[in-house]
């Protein structure tokens, strides 16, 4: 019986008494695209910080395919298979697009194993696949900092795929994108579904409709509701907490 991709068990963090995340539990299965909804300040980004190691939790556990990764250092969590995409796209602006992807696709992270110039066949293949998937083959020699906003987001996504991350945390991946770019991102995510597990924080409901397998709603750091889009729309508690009575648009 294989363990679910991501298991959060009573996860919580308290900052001088203020509980940003409180006793949060959730199970995400392999290959799923789970969308995390919640008003601003509900604790969504903090939750991602806890999973990826940016913030240390004060309660609960995080398990990746059954392996306990609670409070490990960021790079160990990343090596275990967690990838994180930030709200403000973070890529290596002073390096070329090619170099960004090369850094991401490198198989072994230690200094000593990287005292070499050549790429392994495995890395080359992964590199080529990623370039194909995110559609940046024309921009390989451009400086990453010169890319458009949408292209930067896709580059970051590509880096996460190249990293070999099995569970990817996406924090507002379509923020600042045009309609066209949003749709392309949606199809990208749908291509990745199945081979990757994704946890997505989003506000753009049209986008959510395109990609979500299941939705989890957070409120005031706690788990409020979970289910399909339809069930969430109909959920009284969700309406009251977050949407007002107008429903999801």
């Amino acid at each position: 019986m294989s363990a679910p991709a991501l298991t959060l068990d009573g996860l919580g963090v308290s900052f001088s008494g203020f509980k940003a995340v409180d006793g949060f539990s959730m199970v995400v299965n392999a290959g799923e695209v789970r969308v995390l909804l919640g008003a601003n300040g509900a604790g969504k980004t903090t939750l991602m910080d806890l999973i990826s190691g940016k913030t240390k939790s004060t309660a609960g556990e995080v398990r990746l395919f059954g392996r306990d990764i609670t409070n490990l250092e960021e790079h160990h969590i990343a090596q275990a298979g967690v990838g994180r995409k930030f709200q403000i796209p973070s890529i290596f602006r002073d390096l070329s697009v090619r170099d960004n992807l090369v850094v991401a696709c490198t198989r072994r992270p230690s200094v000593l194993s990287n005292l070499r110039v050549k790429r392994s066949a495995d890395e080359r293949q992964r590199f080529d696949e990623v370039v194909e998937t995110v559609g940046l083959s024309g921009s390989l020699d451009r400086l990453a900092g010169a890319l458009s906003h949408g292209e930067t987001q896709w580059l970051e996504l590509g880096m996460l795929i190249g990293q070999g991350a099995k569970v990817i945390l996406l924090d507002e991946p379509t923020a600042g994108m045009t309609q066209g770019e949003t749709m392309k991102t949606a199809s990208l995510i749908n291509t990745m579904r199945g081979s990757h597990t994704m946890l997505v924080v989003e506000h753009d409901m049209a986008f959510v409709r395109e990609i979500a397998s299941k939705i989890t709603v957070m409120h005031l750091g706690k788990h409020l509701a979970e289910g399909s889009i339809a069930s969430i729309e109909a959920n009284e508690a969700v309406r009251n907490a977050y949407l007002g009575s107008g429903g999801i648009h």
């Binding site: 960021e74 990343a78 990287n114 005292l115």
Partner: protein, 379 residues
């Protein structure tokens, strides 16, 4: 080997530099060769700074610490080989300053002539001095780096810590006068002896030791940054968090390259002593450490060859200018001005300027094929 336009020119620049350095003895007399050997050492320091600052993003304002320690280590051995340390009737060579500071009834032996003199005992073997000059600065760099980077100290605080450290060690060296001869430093050193051959600082062969050392450091460091680890290092400089979330132990990379940088500086210190026959606490002056950063900034902080040449250039002109006091002071003002202008308008230094000129020339001159060559990257 398929090289891009820029790579071909870089190769050419490196080759030209190496050839020029090796052929210098044909045109320079012993006096100038010796001077130039010292500038080559400063070039090495420029390389160390470029590696740490340009590639790793670590602004070390106390590089002189490793330089000075390397210098003192080899000096201790060379001091014991000096004729001034030979005392008839003594079991071991004894540095003259220890003799002068000793109690009248102290035993004339390195073990106990003054406090701490026993530290000098193993330096009777020249090989030990050489080994220590290479290993101790690297070890210190490793320890400092480990402490700083594990704690995720970053930005200006790294600069302040390294600055405080070089000042601290300078004071320690001055304070422990019985062992280090304090302010006066170690002078009247013997000559380096390898395989029975003595290396007088004014010999051509001594110049070649320094020159080959510099060339080796330059080439090996260039290879190092061309490796995958070098690219990852630059990524950590660009965005350390992003690198972490990709699975890289950023601290490990920083410690590794900080240590290599300290190692280079230590070797530079050793070579400097071989060429100039003294070690002094002035090697750990703050102004000296910061001037290394100036050389790298002017030459090109992200270019190893650029920083090296920048250091050599500035020091060569400075030496010529110092012939007259007025000119010497004026030159310092010009260096200051040059530095400000370089920081404002030439952030990539002279190396960056050269690269831009090259690009502009390429656009002007059509190639034989009638089209611009597309950049290829070697894999």
């Amino acid at each position: 080997m398929n090289l891009s336009f820029h790579q071909r020119w870089e190769l050419f620049a490196y080759a030209a530099f190496v050839v020029a350095i090796l052929l210098l003895p044909l045109v320079a007399d012993a006096f100038w060769l010796n001077r130039f050997a010292k500038y080559l050492v400063f070039g090495m320091l420029g390389i160390a700074v470029a590696l740490s600052w340009g590639y790793a993003g670590i602004l070390n304002l106390g590089q002189g610490l490793f330089f000075g320690v390397g210098a003192y280590m080899i000096s201790m051995s060379l001091k014991l080989q000096s004729p001034t340390s030979q005392l008839p009737g003594a079991q071991t060579p004894i540095p003259d300053f220890m003799l002068w500071n000793a109690e009248p009834d102290a035993m004339k032996d390195l073990c106990c002539i003054t406090d701490g003199s026993w530290l000098w005992i193993p330096f009777q073997y020249q090989g030990f001095g050489i080994a220590m000059a290479v290993l101790v600065p690297a070890l210190i760099a490793f320890l400092i780096g480990y402490a700083i980077f594990r704690l995720r100290v970053s930005g200006v605080f790294i600069s302040i810590i390294t600055l405080a450290l070089v000042l601290l060690v300078r004071l320690v060296i001055i304070e422990f006068q019985p062992v280090t001869n304090g302010f006066n430093g170690l002078t009247d050193l013997g000559w380096l002896t390898l395989g029975g051959v003595e290396f007088d600082p004014y010999l051509v062969s001594t110049y070649y030791i320094v020159a080959i050392g510099t060339i080796l450091v330059l080439l090996l460091t260039r290879l190092l940054v061309a490796a995958r680890a070098g690219l990852i290092l630059q990524a950590t400089r660009d965005d350390a968090n992003r690198a972490r979330y990709l699975g890289y132990n950023v601290a490990a990379y920083q410690v590794f390259f900080f240590t290599v940088s300290g190692l280079i500086a230590g070797i530079a210190g050793m070579l400097y002593v071989i060429a100039s026959e003294f070690a002094s606490p002035t090697f750990l002056d703050l102004a000296f450490s910061v001037s290394m950063v100036v050389w790298a900034a002017v030459g090109g902080r992200s270019s190893l060859l650029g920083a090296c040449i920048g250091a050599i250039l500035i020091n060569t002109v400075q030496a010529t200018a110092s012939e007259s006091e007025m000119l010497g002071e004026a030159w310092k003002a010009i260096v200051g001005l040059m530095f400000v202008l370089a920081v404002l308008y030439l952030p990539r230094g002279l190396a960056g300027l050269a690269r831009d000129l090259l690009d502009r020339l390429r656009e002007q001159v059509p190639t034989r094929r009638g089209a611009l060559p597309t950049p290829q990257r070697s894999e």
